[in-house]
């Protein structure tokens, strides 16, 4: 008898069930790849130590440092100490934990270091059909290759270190079907912001999203990662895209991807992963890509988003909405276009891959950022940084008046001292516009790298198509 049609998610989930869930107990799910970083791992290693446990599969674990690390060259490579004592301590503690438990660490000065969700795919460790977890909610990024990847808490980091498994309830499935062609000046970031605006910030709660349709098939891998990255901003723990030739071309030859015969075997298995024709999703949503505009957020969650040419909406009697606008210093009915901008941040696991830097640099080429505006460019990894420098992108940014830094999470969450000032407006290519996210009192407007570059040139909220 032929088995029932399955979704991509069902196939990956079932292949990793050590034991299936029942009414009384959750599933025991096996984890293929565990990525760890300095901020959400120390307390997990402490539990192992307290209980005399070892790391069950160190070869399935990879550590790097990104969240609290400095982005100034002298603090990374020597010449100056790490300015923040707490960051220094976390870096040292991760080094000590990795040495004690035999976990490979791409440390502060390593040539392959970078934001954890950028280096996984870059190294070819992120592969279709794998289960991937990390103590970070943007682990959903890795779903772009057809992996089941989701963020976990620190207690669960301890569970995976000790047992290579997690206790999980099976989530429901949500298909987001996108068809049509994105117009010039409209990017994958605008698409995912539109999707979040449509679903709402809790619309995906309890679900794994599969992004489908001809628009998604036409995206390159960097763009697919941008889309999957922000699944969590719609409340979904994971976002997935079925692997295809684009995926295989991206992975082939990467340092930690399978080679030779192993590659052929892997390819055969990966080709069986896409959702079967008759498989059913618990929910489906349709979106027309041709109607997507360059988007920007105006509030304090990523669902508060409008086209750049649009006006800030009214929501009478919604106290949280009014509080958000008060925090942002904006009023209902106002246009967002032409609002003054103080800071532009080009970086983060959402938009700091090479293609993001290229897209911003193309717009900045031969131009300068507005007087008094600060622009910080933070590549997603040391490899991205070197590639960008080989293409001369660093010169474009520096000549435009921007700062060019070492890789890390940086101003996305402001843990390392790269912060936006109180009351300042920052157009940011990152993923969260929460109150205080980029610094106490900072006001964040999320947008694409292209839009961010246009805003930097004008010093005001600008539709990038005006400068293209």
């Amino acid at each position: 008898m032929a088995s029932a049609p399955q979704t991509l998610f069902d196939k990956v989930w079932r292949a990793h069930e050590v034991s299936a869930e029942s009414a009384d107990s959750p599933a025991v799910l096996y984890i293929d790849l565990h990525l760890i970083h300095e901020v959400t791992s120390p307390q997990a290693f402490a539990v192992l130590r307290e209980r005399g446990l070892s790391v069950r599969r160190p070869e399935r674990t990879l550590a790097t440092m990104d969240h609290s690390t400095p982005t100034l060259t002298a603090q990374v490579f020597g010449g100056a100490p790490i300015a923040l004592e707490a960051a220094r301590r976390q870096v040292r503690e991760l080094e000590a934990n990795c040495a004690e438990f035999g976990v490979e660490l791409l440390g502060l000065t390593h040539s392959e270091r970078g934001i954890v969700h950028i280096i996984g795919p870059e190294l070819g460790l992120t592969q279709p059909g794998k289960t991937i977890v990390c103590g970070d909610s943007h682990t959903s990024t890795h779903g772009a290759v057809g992996a089941l990847a989701f963020g976990i808490g620190t207690t669960e980091v301890g569970h995976v270190l000790a047992t290579q498994c997690l206790l999980q309830r099976k989530p429901r499935t949500l298909a987001v079907n996108v068809s049509g062609e994105l117009r010039a000046g409209v990017t994958a970031k605008d698409l995912i912001l539109t999707i979040i605006g449509r679903l709402g910030v809790s619309g995906g709660t309890g679900h794994v999203i599969e992004y489908r349709g001809d628009t998604i098939r036409a995206l390159d891998m960097d763009e697919r990662m941008t889309v999957c990255n922000m699944s969590i901003e719609a409340g979904a723990r994971a976002g997935m895209i079925a692997p295809d030739e684009t995926t295989y071309r991206y992975l082939e030859g990467r340092p930690r991807a399978p080679r030779g015969e192993a590659w052929e075997r892997a390819l055969e298995a990966w080709r069986a992963l896409p959702t079967d024709a008759l498989a059913r999703f618990d929910r489906e949503v349709e979106l027309d890509a041709a109607a997507v505009e360059p988007m920007i957020t105006y509030g304090t969650n990523p669902g508060m988003v409008i086209p750049i040419g649009g006006a800030i909406p009214q929501r009478c009697g919604d106290a949280a909405f009014s509080q958000a606008l008060a925090y942002m210093g904006l009023a209902p009915g106002e246009p967002i276009r032409d609002r003054p901008v103080n800071v532009v941040f080009l970086g983060s696991c959402t938009n700091a891959r090479l293609s993001d830097l290229r897209s911003a640099a193309r717009l900045l080429q031969g131009r300068r950022i507005a007087p008094g505006l600060r622009m910080l460019v933070v590549p997603g990894s040391q490899q991205v940084k070197r590639q960008a420098e080989a293409e001369g992108l660093d010169r474009v940014f520096l000549e435009a008046g921007a700062e060019w830094r070492e890789s890390g999470c940086s101003m996305c969450l402001g843990m390392n001292g790269d912060v936006v000032g109180r009351g300042e407006y920052a157009v940011s290519t990152s993923n969260r516009n929460f109150e205080g996210r980029q610094g106490s009192g900072a006001r964040t407007l999320l947008a694409s790298p292209l839009t961010a570059a246009a805003c930097a040139v004008r010093g005001r909220v600008t539709d990038p198509r005006e400068l293209m």
Binding site: V39, T40, A46, A86, S137, H159, T163, L167, G303, F434
Partner: protein, 192 residues
Amino acid sequence: MPIERFTILTSRTVVLPGANIDTDQIIPARFLTTTTRAGLGEHLFADWRYLPDGTPRSDFVLNRPEAHGCRILVAGGNFGCGSSREHAPWALADYGFRAVISTELADIFRSNCLKNGLLPVIVDEPTSAWLIEHPGAQVTLDVLAGTLTLPRGAAVPFALEAFARHCLLRGLDELDYLLERRNEIEAFERRA
């Protein structure tokens, strides 16, 4: 390693009514530089609770005298969205909360709560609306019965999966449960 058992809790409530309160508000990222779990309660809701110079804001609910000793937080929908930081439930628990009641909790936050003896309670809209309109109400949460009892005696059921209930009532740690499954995990690794 046992965690604190959770059977019945009676307490007055503190209410934070807004929807979509994210974990960056519960505990801002600049406090994630700690390498232990202890002491985060001091920084709970730091940017709402303190003025930039560190003095408490008298208009924030946790700084009012009636909030003292309350162990149940009533929150708007989608509480705990955003970052996966377990520092959020650590901070809530360290402050003294033992339960969070909402119409909806973000997935990762809810999972993190259960691992730290913080009871996630999902109720329907009318119950949530009543609780939000009556801050300081004395309510009882019964894990075994799966009920929330309001001051006038009405008991409202809340959903809690059997495994979570079992762990809370006995103070069991999920890691022990997983470690006991070593043979099954080894068998899986052999056939994978």
